[in-house]
């Protein structure tokens, strides 16, 4: 499975990953429309954290043994055979148990929908939008050699 690797030592906190993520998950896929016109604004699945000179971008890690799935009362979060942790919004009831369980804080609450939102690894694209937008290769895409079925 292709994963996004967060190389924190290279992150300068510029936030381009986040902007790319928002545009990619907008209806218009257009930066100005996405930020100015779309209401509610499209959600970001990646968060840029800053503390003084330190920065890091973080999104759903598609954990090999995910805490979030263990708490999902509706079956909205499921792990697919290839290792992706997938969210099916039509099944989500907004209990937010997964938010309480994710140790990375990578599951966002969409208040207006009463559902959650998280990284889908841009499976519809060749390369995730955040990775593509990162000027510093702080986010890279990497094939995980180890077998994903390991627990």
């Amino acid at each position: 499975m292709k994963r996004i690797v967060n190389r924190t030592e290279y992150c300068v906190g510029c936030g381009l990953c986040r902007i790319n993520c928002i545009v990619e998950h907008s209806r218009s896929k257009h930066i100005i429309k996405a930020f100015r016109d779309e209401n509610p604004r499209p959600e970001e699945a990646i968060k840029v954290l800053n503390r003084g000179a330190q920065a890091m971008a973080i999104q759903c890690q598609h954990c090999t043994t995910p805490y979030c799935i263990s708490t999902c009362i509706s079956g909205a979060l499921q792990k697919e055979a290839d290792g992706f942790v997938v969210h099916h919004p039509e099944k989500c009831v907004g209990c937010y148990s997964c938010v309480l369980a994710c140790p990375f804080g990578s599951i966002r609450i969409r208040e207006h929908e009463k559902k959650i939102f998280k990284c889908d690894l841009c499976r519809h694209r060749k390369k995730p939008a955040c990775v593509e937008g990162c000027p510093n290769r702080a986010l890279i895409q990497e094939e995980n050699e180890k077998k994903e079925k390991e627990t």
């Binding site: 994963r3 690797v5 967060n6 924190t8 968060k47 954290l49 800053n50 503390r51 330190q54 920065a55 890091m56 973080i58 890690q61 598609h62 954990c63 090999t64 805490y67 799935i69 263990s70 708490t71 009362i73 509706s74 079956g75 499921q78 792990k79 039509e90 099944k91 009831v93 907004g94 209990c95 937010y96 148990s97 997964c98 938010v99 309480l100 369980a101 994710c102 140790p103 990375f104 804080g105 599951i107 966002r108 609450i109 995980n144 180890k146 994903e148 079925k149 390991e150 627990t151």
Partner: protein, 425 residues
């Protein structure tokens, strides 16, 4: 010789997680799955959303329709196991079907506790609220119902009240203790939830219980409370807690809590017999004791670990932490560990912000509990510390800040944890 199939009794989250983990571990033996209920596995907590009309009935099922087939499971809906001979690994269902399985998972969950109530046998429209059938039966009577009384202000009672409030019923809640959700909220938190629910016209009767159910021509018409008050009532919902569903089991499997006793590998007292979920006990890491912890994530993990054990895969597990994420309409709360009234002395830090209320409970340099009301974004970053106490001395002050995040964790830990999550460690 052909291997006998693995038997699974129960068809809810513990069973599903057991099946998924076993298959992921490469174990292909056939599974025979007995389910008292007629349905494919569904999200039990979703029955309140169904009753409220908030979800499409097809979306209540946890997995896709081909789940059983895909996983080489012979699914036997409606087959309740009524007898289990644990010495000979044999059993029988209510319909008379016999089976023999040398490897067995008991995951038959819990059932509602029903307090003795005078007059209840004769009354119609008295329901519990733990199954899809319960929700459908309640749904079918709703049209002629005006006054609802709910016994119990715990999680199930609160969710029942929420769904019936969406249906514009006149609701009263009768609760033995002095407040809402006493095990997962502190006093102030209970107060916030009570206020929110009272705003919707829900009435509460605390430190009280039902003395007698009033019936007219076999129809429920009211309830009489212990303090002498009477309430009109044409639908009574009993939500007074759950207990392990162990009636069909031999005493030798049970603890004094009437739950199945299991070791850390989810093995019962009998070789080859494992148990998981609401039917058994769990080790609580924070209380440092074994107890009945009937919550969803525990059932999931116990099913997961039972499968790893059966497949002979080693694992490390520190213990369970009780966690709850509960909403009443627009008010949401999350809590973990010891919140209040546990008898264990704690140092509490309470933070009231504009739209949020938080409480942290420490014991020496350990974080033993946390409660969040209102603002609940990203709180997993904090509750994770309940399982990683070694980090608490360094992070104790930081978690109280509004913008606490994963970046506040020590660098070496961050790197290790990210790699571990991605399966590189």
């Amino acid at each position: 010789m052909k291997q006998a199939p693995i038997g699974v009794i129960g068809n809810s989250i513990a069973a599903i997680s057991f099946i998924e983990t076993l298959r992921q571990a490469g174990h292909r033996d056939k599974i025979l799955l007995f389910s008292k209920e007629e349905y494919p596995a569904y999200g039990r907590p979703l029955i309140s959303y169904l009753l409220a009309g908030k979800i499409d009935p097809d979306n209540i099922f946890l997995r896709s329709p081909d789940f059983y087939h895909k996983n080489n499971v012979e699914f036997l809906p409606g087959e309740e196991v009524t007898h289990l001979d644990i010495s000979n690994h044999r059993g029988k269902t209510r319909s008379g079907k016999k089976f023999a399985c040398d490897r067995l998972l008991i995951a038959a969950g819990s059932k509602p506790f029903i307090p003795p109530l005078k007059g209840i046998e004769e009354a119609s429209k008295v329901f519990t609220f733990t199954t899809l059938d319960d929700a459908q039966r309640i749904q079918a009577t709703l049209k002629n119902v005006k006054n609802v009384v709910i016994v119990g202000a715990g999680l199930i009672g609160l969710k029942a009240a929420e769904s019936l409030s969406y249906k514009n019923k006149n609701i009263s809640v009768v609760e033995l203790s002095e407040r809402i959700l006493p095990s997962v909220l502190d006093k102030q938190g209970s107060g916030l939830f009570q206020q929110r629910m009272e705003k919707d016209g829900i009435h509460f009767y605390f430190k009280n219980t039902i003395q007698r159910v009033k019936v007219k021509n076999r129809n429920l018409c009211g309830v009489e409370l212990e303090n002498g008050n009477s309430l009109p009532c044409d639908l009574l919902i009993i939500a007074a807690g759950v207990k392990p569903n162990t009636d069909f089991l031999e005493e030798s499997l049970l603890s004094e809590n009437r739950a199945i006793s299991v070791n850390r590998y989810m093995q019962t007292a009998r070789d080859g017999i494992y148990a998981a979920g609401d039917i058994c006990e769990a080790y609580d890491l924070i209380y440092n004791t074994v107890r009945h912890m009937p919550i969803w994530p525990n059932a999931y993990w116990q099913g997961h670990f039972a499968a790893l054990s059966m497949a002979g895969i080693p694992y490390n597990f520190k213990g369970h932490v009780s966690m709850n994420s509960i909403g009443y309409k627009d008010l949401h709360m999350m809590s973990a560990g010891i919140v209040e009234d546990s008898g264990i002395p704690v140092e509490s830090i309470v933070i009231n912000r504009d739209k949020s209320y938080q409480r942290f409970n420490f014991q020496d340099e350990k974080l033993v509990g946390a409660l969040f009301i209102g603002d609940v974004q990203e709180k997993g970053v904090i509750t994770h510390l309940l399982k990683h106490q070694e980090l608490v001395p360094r992070l104790k002050d930081k978690i109280q800040k509004e913008n606490f995040s994963f970046l506040d964790y020590p660098r070496e830990y961050r790197i290790h944890h990210l790699q571990k999550a991605q399966g590189k460690k």
